[in-house]
Every structure is written in C-alpha cells, then in structure tokens.
Symmetry: C2
Subunit: 881 residues, 2 copies
C-alpha cells in the first residue's frame, strides 16, 4: 500500500516533490523546533493517482486520512466533530513549486451544528465559535462546492446593514448564528443538499476540492505562464487550526524578512488583530504594518523577529512567512522563498553575500535573468491602475506616452520639435524610418515580432506594440477605433512594449535604475561565465550603448537597415531596377562611400572588439515600392486618363517590381543567393568594409571585422562568396599598404546548413546561428504569419509549450544545432561559434548555447545584462551537474 | 615514374577508368584477336596530371609517348615522318564514360611535306596521299589550333568551283597539292606560325588538344546534362592509321549490331566507299546502308557480320562498331555499347534474355528507367526539324499542338467542341480549371514546377510548359510576343512538356507505345522489386489510369483539388469567409455529400488497394479572390463612383481576404494548422471518407482508406488530429453498423518532423515523406521562386549538381529522412513508410528510398512504370553490394 499521508514530523525540506513546497516547509519548520501547529500531509502522489483514476481517490487514501486525523486527535487531545472540544483543521493546497493565489484553502473544517457548540463551550466565546462556523461554511461552499462567493458576501453585508453596524467584528454571537442559518440556506439552494454534518465528509470533500483545483483555469494559466509542468500534482496540508480571531490578543499576518520591493533588510509585512489569515489576503479590513506589532505586542514581535531571522538563516534566502497569534502565542503557518522585484532580487543577493550568508555563485543563481529586463526600460508603475484599450504583440520592451500621429512625416517634424508622439500605422516600411527615430514609440495594427516596425524598434531600444489587430486605423480621417472607442490625432495614449498593452492617456512610469548592486552582480557574473556576450547593433549609437551595457563585440551588424535610410533608398532602388551589372555599377559606386562611413562608425565605436558584419540579406523587392500601391495608382490614372506619361512610367515600374516579386520571400532570392547572382553588390560591401578598416588601422584604431555571409545551405555558396571577400581584402591591403586581420564566416540558419556543417566549416572561420530563420525553416513557420494566425491557438492548446521564436526549441531544432556544432568543429577545430538570433537574449536558450559549446551569444543591447547573468548561471548550473 | 602510356596489347576491357572506354575496348578487341590496327593509349591519369600542373604535360609523358611511337614503328616496320614509308596515326579522345561527339579527333597525323611523298610512293597513289595530307592539315588546324573549320571548307568549295567539279573525289592530285598550299596559308594566317614539319611536334600538340578538349564547353555541358563527374579525365588513343580512302576497294562505316531505334535484331548502319571515318559522321556525302555492303563486298560483309556477332556475344550487349576497309581488308576501329531509344532498349533486353545471352536481372539493369517516360507520352518526333520559339520549364511531360487561346472560358467552349486548343496564361488559378480540362496543353509565362498549372497538368497527364518568361502575354489584345515575333489567338503552336520547348505551328508526333516487351520487362521488375509502387491521383480517372500502369495503391490523394472545382468553389469561399464555426457549419454540410462522392469514386476505382487521402493542406486564401484583382476593381469603382453598393461589398471582401493573406503562404496557416484551428473542416472530410467507406463496404467492395494529416512538425498536432479522425470513424461504424479497417498517418515534410519522428510515430500508422515541401524547408528554397530566379544560376555555376526538386538531395535532406526512418521505426516497428513527393518517380531517388528502408514510393500515374523498373534496379544494385 502506497503511503499517501505523512505527519509533519515525518517530513523535511527535501521532500517538496512529494509533500509540496508548503508541506515540506511545515515539516522542516516542525523539525527545527518552530511553533508550528501539528498536521498531516496528503502527498502529490495521491493527487496524481486521483487524476489517473478519473478523479477518484485511490485505494487506501481515505483510510490513511482517517488514521492521520486520529493521530491529530491523540496529539491535541481533541476529537474530530466533538460536541465538547472539537478538533478543527485547515485544508490547504501545496504544490512542489510555489503557485501563490492559484489554489484554494478551507479553514475551520470540522465545525458542525454540534461541534460549534463544543468550540463555544471550550473557548467560552460563543461569538468566536459562530464566526468560525460561518467562515467555514462560506469557504467550504465557495471552494468545494463552487457557490459564488458574492452570495455569502451579500448576506453578510445585508445583515450588517440590518443590524446597523459597520464592521464584521461588531456583529454579535446571535447575529452570527442567524448568518450561519442564512449561509446554510444559500448552500442548500445551490448544492441541492444540506450542509454536511459529518466532519469526515467535510474533510474528504475538501481534499477532493484541493485536488480538483490543481486543474482549475487559474492554476493552468499560471503554470503555463510560469512554465511549470502539469504532471507534478498538488499535496494537501491538513493542519490543526489556530485562531487569530479569538479576540484582541489574537491576530494573523504575513511578513517578508526583507522588503520584497526594494530589498532593504527590514521586516516587511502586515497583520490584523482578531482575524483569520484570509482577512489579510482578501483586503477586507486594512491591516497594520508589521512594525506596529512591536508597540502593540512587543513579546510577540520579538519572538517573530527571532523566528524570521532563524528562518532566513535556515533557508538562506528572503522568506515570506505567514503567522497567527492565538491569545498571545505565536504560531508559524507557512514560510517560503519570497517573491521579489528585480531590484530587490539584486539588492538581497548582493547584501546576503556581504552578510556572509550566501556565496557569489548562490547570489547569481537567486536572480532570474529574465526579470532584469525590468531594470533596463522605462516601465508602467506596477502599482498604477490602468485601463487597457487593446493588446497587441509585445514587440519591443519599454513604455511610452505620447500624442497619436498617423504619418511618419508628422512624427518627424513634431518629434524633432520635442513633442512626445506615438506613431500609429497599419504597418511601417523603410519609408517611415525618419518618423520612427524621433517618435517615443510605435503602434501597428499588422505585422508580427519580426515585422519592420518591431525589428527597427528593438534595434533602437524604442517601445513598440505591433500586430494590434483590435485597432482599426482610418488613416484618411486620422483616427483609430477599438470597438466603439475612437482615438483621434493628438489624443494621448500609452503603450507598453513589454506586455503589448495600449492604454488611453498618460500612465505613471518608473525610470530604469542601474544601481551599484546591479553592476556588482554583473561583475560577478562576468568572472564566472565562459560564454562571451555580444550585441546585435546596426549603428554606432547602438554599438556604444551595447558597449556600455557590457557587450564585448557586435555579433550581428545588419547592413540592410543602412540601405533603407530615406536618403539612400532611391539609390538602392535605382541599383536594383538597373537589372544588369553595367547598370548597377553607377549606383554601387554611389553607395560605396556611404557604406564605408557606416562601417567606419561602427568599427570605431567597437574599437578593440570584434564586429560581425552581415552582407546584404533581404530580398531586393523589399526595397521597392509595393505592388498594391502601384496598382491603385495605375488604376486611378487609367480610369481618369490624367497624366499618361506617368501612367506608362508606373506601368514599366510595376513590370519590374512584379518580376522581382516572390510568392514566399522568406524562402526566396535573398541572402547569399543575392551574392551569387549579383556578386558586385557583395563586392561593394566588402570594399566598403575594408576601406573603413584601412582608414581605422592608419588612425591606430584596433579593429576586428568579421564578414558574415547569410543564408548558406550549400558549401559552394560560402566558398564562392569567401573568394570574393578575400580577394577584395587582399587587394585593399596591397593598395592601401596596410595590414589587418579579418574573418569570414557564415550564418547557420537553414536545416541543410546544419546537416552539411562539416563541409561548410571548411570555408568558415566562424558560425553564427541565425535561430530566427532556423526556427522558421525547421518548423515550417513563417513568423510574420504564425504569430498572428495560429501560434496563439497552439500555445493555448498546449500543442507547443512556448513560442519557439522566443525560447529556442531544444527538442527539435536543438538537435540540428548540436549536430552542426559537432560537425563544424570536427572539420575545423578553430571554428568560433555564436548565436545572433533573438534567442541569444533568452536565459533558457543561453543555457542551451552554453551546454552545446558555443563561444558567445549575441542579443539586443538592452538584453546584454540579462545575457551576462544568464551565461554565468548556465556555467554554474552545468558545473553542478 | 608513373606509367602514362599503354600498348593496346597491355590493356583489357576492365581498364576503362585508366584507358578510357574507347582505349579499353580497343585493347580488349586486340586481346580477343580482332583485326585492330596497333596503337598505344595515353592514360586518363596523364590527363589529370596535365590539369593539376596548370595544363602542362607531366614529367616523363613526352618520353613515354616517343617510346610508344618507336614501338609502333617496330611493329609496323615504318618510321614516323619517314620520307619513304611513313608511320601515320590517328589521335582520338576516349573518356571512361562514352561522350559521343564531345571530343575532337585528328587523323593522318605524321604527314609532312616530306612524308607525304613517302606515302604517295609507297601506295603508288599520289592523289590519295595529298587527300590525306589536306585532311590532316584541316583537322589539325581545326582541333589543335582552333582555326574555324569553315575557312578550310570554303577553300575546298572555291577550288571545286574553280576546277568545275562537284565531288571531292573529282579533284586530282595536282588540285589537292594546290589545296594543301592554301590550307597551309590559312594555317599560317591564323596561327602566326608555319605548319609543324616535325611529326612529334604534331603529335604532342594533338595530345595537348585532346586533353584541352576535356574542358571545352560542349564537353562540360554534356557532362552536366549526363551527370558525369568532371574529374575523370580523358585518355588519348594513338593508333596506326588505316585508310578507307585508298580507292574503290576501301571504305569506312559505322554499324550497330541491332537497330538502335527499334531494337530489331539486324545489322544496322552505313558506310562510304573511298572515305575516311569523318566523312560518315560529318554527313558530307550520303552513305550507303550497311546491307548494301553484302552485295558490293560480300566477303567483307561476312567478315564484319562475324565480328559484330562476336563482339555482341563478347560484350553481351548491343554494340556500336566503327570499321574501315583498306584495300579489301576489314579493320575494327572501335566498339562500344550502342545508344538506343527506350523502345529499342526494352526490345533488345527482352530479346537477349530470350536468346539466352543475358539474365533477366541484367536485362533490367540495361534499361534506363528515366528513358521509359519516352514511352508514356506523345512526343515530338526526334527526326523532325523543329524551330524553337522559346523555352520554359518542362512542367508536365508530353507534347501537344493546338490553337492559342487566352481565356479559360474560351478554352472550355472550344475544347469541348473538339477543337485542339492550348491555353496560354500568365499563370493559372483554380478559376481556370474548367479551361484546363478540355485544353490539349497549357503554357504559362510565370510559375515554377509546382505552380498551379504545373501541378494540375501533371495530375491530368496533360502537357505543360510553365514559367516561360520569354513570352510576353498581352491578354487584352489576345496575343503574346517573343522578341519580335507575335503569336495571335488561333495561331497554332506546339508545346513539348518534356523539354519545355515552345514551337510555332504543328510538329510531327510519335504516339506512346506499350509493347508486349515493355509489359514483359515490367513483370520481371515486379518479381524482383521489394518496394511497392503507388500513384498520386486525385480522381477516379487518374486512379484507374494509375492502376492500368501497375500502381498497387494511391500514395497521395489531394483533397484540395476537389475544393477547387468551379461548381464547388463558391461554397468553399463562403465557408472560409464565414469566420466562425457556426457560420462554417452550413457550408460544410453542403460540402460533405460532395466530398463523399469524391472519395466513393476513388476508393472504388482502387478497390483492393490502399488509398492515402490527405486532408486539406493549402492555405485558405488560395481559394479566395486575389487581393490585386479586388484592389483594381475597388479603385475603378471608387474613381468612377459607379455602383457604391458593390464597392462597399468589395471593400468588405477585401478586408476579409486581407485578414487571411500571408507573407509566406508556404510556411503559413495551412496543413494540420488548419485542422487544429478549424477542426470542423477536418471532421467533415473524415466524415465524408467514412461515409463513402461504409457505403462501399455494404456494397461488398474491399477498401483500405489511409487518412493522412499534412504538415505535422509537433507530435501533439498529430495526436489531436488523430483523435478527430478516430472518433468520426468509430461513430460511423456504430451508426452505419459496418466494420472497416483504416489507418491514420502523417506526411513528413518538415525538418522538425524528422527530428522528432520517434514521438510522432507513436501516433502514426504510417509516414509518407512529402519531399517537395521537405526540400523547400531544408534548403530554405521556395520552389516557385527559386526555379525562376536563382536555381538556374546555381546549376550553371555548379553550386548544386542538380535541381533538388527533381533529384532528392541525399547529401543533406537524405540525412533527415534516414534519421526519421530510424527514429520512426524505433518507436513503432509496424510503421509503414513511403514517399509521395515528386522524387517518388525519380530513379536515383527511388534507389535512395530502397536503401533507406521505405515500403513504397508513390508518383504520378505516368511515372509508375519508371518507378517499377527503378525499384527493381535498386534491389539488384544493392543486392550486388
């Protein structure tokens, strides 16, 4: 027979998988002699068995629970359901991983019409007994029987009104007896049966309810959001009741050993006199700050303070403690590691190292790197009450408030005049860049996480909400609507790029803080980590920012954004439309000095560090006018018969643009395929790079250019393109009479590249995994389409645990990456390996990169601190194993 | 010192890699005692060394050649360049793999101003000697020195005119002496140096020219087209000359041991009296059929007949023999396996088995399966003179002649009236199906091998040339132009879907023949092969055809073409635009009985065999009107302000169509992603299948439906969709009170599916590799874009050896497939594995499938015989190893 029920005295802190976090902690506290009311724990195994048997208790569970109650009866010298001195218990859930607020609790279980009288007699406090009873009926009805809580609340409110009192505590014993009758009637009405008078019936129903609550919607959502597996199950803690509501020398509270918002080392929390725990959480009465306890009950405060220190020392972490005082005696009901803000996490970790309580390594493992992003951007004050108008994709973190404008031109003029504007567009194009730069943020109704707006905004560290399909933009009338709300030009909105929320009006903000402790933590991380951290940056400004955040190189400098600047776009368009090498020559010659300045700037900003420059990657038609726009204009001209010259010009342009159009641009004529078919374009870019390098070398600046060929899937592609780059480099050395180092490598972003990585590595100095495109091709997901169309359903239905564009798919794509690393290194032991997809900034993915033998990760500048910490944690976690 | 030169007496037939095919055969024939003029062979290794050293002779080669000539001098009792009795030699190329017409030959080498007199004296025939000399100068000048051949031809023509004679043979010795002087002057003029008077200089230059010809353009193109590696090199055969031009008892000819066009077992060939070999090939004089030799020189004929039989018996295959008769004596100059038509290949193989010359297995290995396609379609008579107007993609094999029409409606009306029409469109859409059906063929200027036109045409077995970008269609004026040629409506054109050629007017055709020998060969193949062969078919008609061609099942029945029929499309469109499950219900109910009839028909046509039905795969917007068309109409209505009701209707439609539009449809909301988000659509299809199955079972028809879920990349996708199918099947069994078997499986067409194949296999009865999509995602190539844009460059530049959409990429994608097979079977040993991509009809790819442990291949009906033979050959080849 499986042992499904443990006494607190039989457990310890290591048994959290079996006993749940709360149960294991209660057992541990019992073990170290803290004043914990005795109890028993129904194991998570019982919960799993319950689900395996179609929501039925497994054999033996009921008997073991009865035996457990008998043990409590013996220990406490009370009887369950006793008419004179009844044993009362609380029933609480407790999963192996803390899920606060997710699971339901029942207190005062064991009260019946008979035993309530026993409780009244024993305590000499009839009012207290009936208060317990009515609370119990209310919680049992709500939690176990799903009776809407407001039914009971309404009855209570009505009664107080009828009696002319304001506070619950003003109600008399007689009032509460009346309330019990009303509550029972509510129960009978909803359940269709009378309230159970056998305490074992109550207990078994309560255990059933806790088990069932493991799969309530809130719990499922919480697990999904927090990546907690569904097959852990919950334990049930059945604990002897203590009462914070036995009068003015009783009370209950919750406290943190340190301030969980700031990390300051003072007790932080609150308590209520003459109340049970639920009253604190429910916020019905306003609790007192814990400091007041010192004045009201100094002995209790001192005892609690001692216990709090003991618990923090014992668990070596900030603790979140629930306690109850019953007639002057302190009981500890729960302790757990306290949730904290990023700022607090950093400060607590650094302080505890300074206090000698934990090591630097432990400090690093205590801070969730993903949380650090909180510290890197302006953000909405979490305390603020906000009303969300619509929600789009969280395309680029940070929050911004400003006046709505609908054109890039207007955003440019007004933004440059110092006005705070938010650019709102259906989607953005390269033509909008001049408006994006001075805007505070951007909101689009179409496009995914890699849409133009999203990519550009992330590159600029500018807040963006994209693909917000709920807003209907009427550009002509300069307004947008959400349902029946219309937002006009100059109306103020706030966007939160971290959550995708769009709000009307201004909202309180918190500015980013880079405290000394933050710097300290990152310095410790740098000492430990073996993975390099670079940044993805396309401009000298971004590069400088990345460097300030601790990046030691650029892992991806995209050259196409340089092509898209409005002043250059016409030259680029003419080059593309030229169609022949001869026709292109003139425009390439114009672009050469411009690109040279681009590279000069970024290489100089990153002096002393490597800069990986990716040659032109997107399909050429991305730089051209849209077919749809041309069609509309052509049709207008055709119908109105105005300006036939322009019509025929546009028709010719349409023909050329059509010839370059593609069915699936993502899989089309782009990347090194451009380099193979238009080697002159790559040659120009290589020349621009090496011209810049030569100038910098002559100026005494240390530069390490790394030329990256995109979208290689066939070894000969890299071989050919490498020849072009090497030839230009060597010619430049000769012509300019300088010497410099450089590397030539490739992005690994196609499944085939992984499969033939050994043959590719023969021509590569480095591999940089382009995991955005590799995810697209491995899954066959077009990111722009998937995130708007079916990925949300996939996550909801748990077909996928998480968005593979955010968290690297280790199960599938990870196999390809590991294969490529192994094959690449087998052919070229000097091969330098990194990642420059967005996964390079995701902690889980960084852990994978570390384990797979990468040399570095590269991510957006604002993610660099996250990556530094995550890299150190990866080293520590894998060192352990 | 490497041995670079072999005597004929030192070699044999097994040495073809070293001595080339021709050299090895000459050595072999020498070895078995045939009358072969003595000679020496410069090895392929010498050629490779020549290229390794930058087109320089390797050390020792010249000495070895000189020693070889000394050996010939001793053997023949003549001296090289001798003034009285000179040794003359021919110099011919000879690669390990026959490359007819690709390499250049020089005859009569050794003649100089001095030795020509010796030849004249020795033969007593001055005219003959100078004829040899002038031929030698001509060939040497042409082949070794690249002097344009027409220069010499012109001088010869001019001389004949001046002398008033018609035939070369009418020229006198004196005339020829004059011609020699003129030829030398031409030589001097072009080369800038006088004609070499040292025979060794001549010989070394000739060897150099042969080596160089290995890399001439013709040779490179031939190798590419015939998949011959570039690193084999060519040998050089230096052989004592015999003379077919020594008078009326001399001659030269080429003959096959059997008719290479029909396979008939009679000597087939031709000869010329008083001529050298080049005269036959060049077609300057019309040669006599070989049968005439019997009358003119019965002894020679008998001798040749004996040798021909001996050679065929020796090599056990149809031989292509070159011979020369010098003053009544027969010499054999070359023998090789004879090229033959598919029909001949089949007949010769079957006959030789009947004659006991070869085994059935050898017979199967003698026939190139790819060639069999020739027998399956109407084709252009290879003898016909055709003028090619333009060339597009060979999208669907077969040839068709008809009048050009530019609209599907017109094609429908006129085609159904029995007119032969070719539908010419920029591209086709589902709306054009009604015009495609009665058209003889289709020609499009856009789209690749998987464009709508191509796929539909292949499915129908109808000729198609697609993506023929050279033709500019002006639909409005009903004409198209190619350069300056305009083709109007009703003009007759011919298209050749096997080569992509478009020709003006009608062209002679050959009808497909399925002879008894063909059947015999396929029956032998069936006995040997272990791979099953199924067909891809969407209609009962296609299924029946496939069955007639020997398919034992349907490997892919696409259901989307059923949706695209014009009568159904409006229902499908309404269903899609409904947007909600409730809205869809009505239209799904309408589609259900229609789909049921579809499945009833195809299952019945394939009674007794499995039919794999793929549930809906393409993105929904493929069924909707095009955004561009809507935009044009909306703009027109907007500008003209006519019909505002229709305008707002169209604007609403545009909004819905836009909402469903995708950036990369290939990677978008399609396949099982539709099934997950719109389970009601898959449910309807499953219901239609099982309704049809139930009816057939009740009628006593044996059916084996296999339901295939497309585009699975995540195990849970298949798990969910399988649940839907199984539920519908079981409900149907209960409701209809019937029992039937069915399988549920998936297409493996995404890299991730291969990587997690073990987990997918847990929910699959079968895997069918969709190698079209798998190629797209593995390479990151959109086929529709790649084939028009960069793949041709990739093949030309040898970045890829072949189009991966035609021949399965074993190097890269093959790894994924092998992994998936291994993982799939490890998790589910009963897993049935097939392929339904187009590679399923390609012999090389079929060999791969055989080796990788597939159970079957599936291909278009017309490829079924190819696949049956290829499967047998795969078994035989791999049995050997």
């Amino acid at each position: 027979m499986t042992k499904f029920v443990y006494k607190f005295t039989e457990g310890n802190a290591d048994m959290r998988n079996l006993l749940g976090g709360k149960g294991a902690n209660l057992a541990e506290m019992t073990r170290i002699g803290l004043p914990v009311p005795p109890g028993i724990i129904v194991t998570t195994e019982a919960c799993l068995a319950f689900y395996q048997q179609g929501e039925q208790f497994p054999d033996g569970l009921e008997d073991q629970i009865r035996q457990g109650i008998q043990y409590l009866e013996q220990t406490m010298g009370k009887k369950f359901g006793d008419v004179s001195d009844p044993l009362l218990v609380s029933v609480r859930s407790g999963a192996p991983i803390s899920m606060p607020g997710m699971m339901d609790t029942i207190l005062n279980l064991g009260l019946t019409d008979k035993s309530v009288q026993g409780l009244a007699d024993k305590t000499g406090n009839e009012r207290f007994a009936y208060d317990c009873y009515r609370r119990f009926i209310q919680m049992f009805g709500d939690v176990a029987m799903k009776i809407p809580g407001e039914k009971f609340e309404q009855a209570l409110t009505d009664l107080k009104a009828a009696k002319g009192v304001k506070l619950d505590t003003d109600l008399t014993a007689e009032d509460l007896k009346e309330l019990v009758q009303q509550f029972k009637a509510i129960y009978q009405e909803h359940v269709g049966d009378s309230f159970p008078e056998d305490p074992y019936d109550q207990l078994l129903a309560a255990v059933h309810a806790v088990f069932a609550s493991w799969n309530n919607e809130r719990a499922k959502v919480y697990r999904r959001l927090n990546k907690i597996p569904d097959d852990l199950g919950t334990a049930v803690n059945i604990q002897t009741m203590v009462f914070g509501n036995m009068g003015q020398t009783s009370g209950t509270g919750v406290a943190f050993t340190r301030n969980p918002a700031t990390g300051e080392n003072v007790l932080y929390g609150e308590y209520l006199i003459n109340a049970q725990g639920e009253d604190v959480v429910a916020g019905i009465r306003t609790p007192e700050p814990i400091a007041h306890l010192k004045d009201e009950f100094p002995a209790v405060y001192d005892e609690f303070h001692r216990v709090a220190e003991l618990l923090e020392d014992h668990y070596r972490d900030l603790q979140d403690i629930e306690f109850t005082v019953q007639e002057g005696k302190l009981y500890i009901l729960q302790t757990r590691s306290g949730k904290r803000t990023a700022a607090a996490a950093v400060k607590v970790a650094v302080d505890m190292v300074r206090e000698g309580k934990i090591s630097r390594e432990e400090a690093l493992l205590r801070i969730d790197p993903a949380q650090l992003v909180q510290l890197m951007h302006r953000r909405i004050d979490p305390e603020a009450q906000v009303e969300v108008l619509a929600t789009g994709l969280p395309a680029s973190p940070g929050a911004a408030t400003g006046k709505v404008v609908f054109s890039a031109d207007e955003a440019e003029v007004r933004g440059n005049n110092g006005e705070a504007v938010i650019l709102v567009r259906t989607e953005t194009t390269p033509d909008d860049i001049h408006g994006l730069v001075p805007a505070r943020g951007v909101l689009t109704s179409r496009g995914g996480m890699t849409s133009h707006a999203a990519v550009v905004a992330r590159g600029m560290g500018k807040p963006a909400v994209c693909g917000c399909e709920a807003i209907k933009i009427d550009a002509e009338n300069e307004c947008f609507t959400v349902d029946n709300i219309t937002v006009k030009k100059d109306d103020i909105i706030t966007i939160d790029g971290a959550t995708g929320r769009v709000m009307l009006g201004a909202v309180p903000m918190i500015e980013p803080e880079l405290t000394g402790d933050f710097e300290t933590i990152l310095a410790w991380a740098d000492e430990i980590r073996t993975l390099g951290v670079r940044a993805n940056a396309d401009t000298p400004r971004d590069a400088t920012q990345a460097r300030n955040f601790g990046a030691t190189g650029i892992g991806l400098c995209r050259t196409e954004h340089m092509f898209m600047e409005p002043s250059r776009l016409p030259i680029v368009q003419e080059m593309i439309l030229a169609g022949t090498p001869e026709g292109r020559r003139e425009f390439l010659a114009k672009l050469l000095p411009i690109q040279e300045e681009d590279f000069y700037g970024i290489l100089k900003a990153m002096a002393g560090y490597p800069v990986t420059i990716r040659l032109l990657d997107p399909p050429l038609h991305e730089f051209l006018p849209k077919i749809e726009d041309l069609l509309v204009e052509i049709t207008e001209l055709r119908v109105t018969k105005k300006d036939p010259a322009r019509l025929s010009q546009l028709q010719e342009l349409l023909r050329k643009v059509r010839a370059l159009a593609e069915f699936n641009p993502m899989l089309g004529h782009r990347g090194c395929r451009l380099g193979v078919t238009f080697p002159d374009v790559y040659e120009m870019q290589a020349q621009a790079i090496f011209n810049a390098v030569s100038r910098l070398v002559k100026e005494g600046v240390e530069v390490y250019p790394e030329i990256m060929i995109p979208l290689v899937g066939i070894p000969a592609e890299l071989e050919l393109m490498r020849e072009v780059v090497v030839r230009v480099a060597e010619e430049t050395k000769q012509r300019e009479k300088v010497d410099f180092e450089y590397k030539v490598g490739t992005m690994i972003e196609l499944p085939r590249a992984c499969l033939v990585a050994d043959k590719i590595a023969a021509h590569a100095d480095f591999f940089s995994f382009g995991t955005n495109d590799l995810t697209q091709t491995t899954f066959g997901f077009s990111r722009d389409d998937a995130e708007g169309k079916f990925l949300p359903t996939y996550i909801d239905q748990k077909i996928l645990k998480e968005n593979p564009f955010a968290v690297l798919d280790q199960e599938g794509m990870g196999q390809l990456i590991a294969l490529a690393v192994q094959k690449g290194r087998s052919a070229n032991s000097e091969l330098h390996i990194g990642i420059c997809g967005e996964h390079g900034g995701d902690p889980e993915s960084i852990d994978f990169c570390h384990r797979t033998g990468f040399d570095y990760v590269s991510c957006s500048p604002f993610r660099v601190p996250v990556a530094r910490l995550a890299a150190a944690r990866a080293e520590l976690k894998n060192r352990k194993k």
